[in-house]
Symmetry: C2
Subunit: 206 residues, 2 copies
């Protein structure tokens, strides 16, 4: 019977612990099926304590989902700076960062949450459109336009539809979330095959 000790904490840290626990719960069972008691238990505290840091369940969810994505963008944004690198390398880096920072972490459940709960929380959807999608597409558009100008694209029209480049990333997440248990999908192969399709082959022979 491990006696739970009361333990005071730095509020900042406690807050972070609650958010982490909440993310785990929401990712696992969705908004409705997650009980505030579950979140508390997972954070190793009592239910009431959660309410000392967040006014209610909805706000906890919104702050949580909004707070997870932001840090990634900076790194992706850096991609567009380097004018020198070939577009293919830039897009490859896009996938690489996505893979490392989203697909292979718990963040992969984020899309599921947004897709699932979005209609109930328009604030969240709007936030993701404005902060993530818009910016991601803008970056891709620049990189693709440059690639088109340099003749690196097999089909220059792709530069007008950057969503096409996001599509394999989306597929990898959906697959990982839903079907990975039934059949493995090699995300790297998915990305590489797409890159080989998108860009004209480089000069180098074997």
């Amino acid at each position: 019977m491990a006696e739970r000790k009361r333990e005071k904490r730095d509020p900042e840290q406690r807050r972070a612990e609650i958010l982490a626990a909440a993310f785990a719960c929401f990712a696992e069972r969705g908004f409705a099926a997650t009980r505030m008691e579950d979140v508390a238990a997972r954070a190793g505290i009592a239910k009431g304590t959660v309410y000392l840091h967040f006014p209610d369940k909805e706000r906890l969810f919104i702050e949580l989902v909004s707070g997870i994505a932001s840090p990634i963008l900076g790194e992706v944004g850096g991609m567009v700076e380097k004018d020198a690198v070939p577009a293919r390398a830039a897009v490859a880096m896009f996938y690489s960062i996505f893979k490392r920072e989203v697909l292979e972490t718990e963040r992969r459940h984020l899309l599921r949450l947004i897709l699932a709960e979005g209609p109930m929380f328009p604030v969240v959807t709007e936030f993701y459109y404005r902060e993530i999608i818009t910016k991601g597409l803008a970056i891709l558009r620049i990189v693709l336009a440059r690639a088109a100008a340099r003749g690196e694209l097999r089909n220059p029209a792709v530069a007008d539809v950057p969503q096409l480049v996001m599509a394999p990333a989306l597929m990898s997440i959906v697959w990982a979330t839903l079907f990975e248990g039934y059949e493995h999908l090699d995300a790297q192969k998915l990305f590489d095959t797409f890159l080989d399709t998108l860009f004209v082959p480089q000069g180098g022979a074997i």
Copy 2:
């Protein structure tokens, strides 16, 4: 005060009405947030009546989600039969059927439901993997292998990763479901651009 009359119905028809109402409700608000009373109200009947046709909420959901997809597959399957048609036309037809039968109908909410509620209803996920994904991928694999053999693919390796061809369809659905309100995505253009990228240009000059 439109007085609701009692009205007996052919059980088959009643059942269908309930399923239609339930689909509308679940698609709109998700499993948890949908009240059985909502479903009943939407079907124009009393709550108790729903329970004459479905044992409980969960079974209603499962039967619903399982019943929606099946009819489409036959048509898609027909695609593979015609060995004569160019692979590009076959894949274009795949997108076309998808667009007409899913994207532009209420069925577009299906993916959201599966993605959102899948983890809570493994039966549903398994059903979709087995009945839809597997078969769709198998068809694409055949078409793509044929295309590769005929030299129609810019990158023959695509034949190994049919998920790549599904990715734009997935993107179109996710976009339509989440972001269409903020920015329109032209699905036809998405598909056409991808087809132009995937397949070697046809001989015909302008």
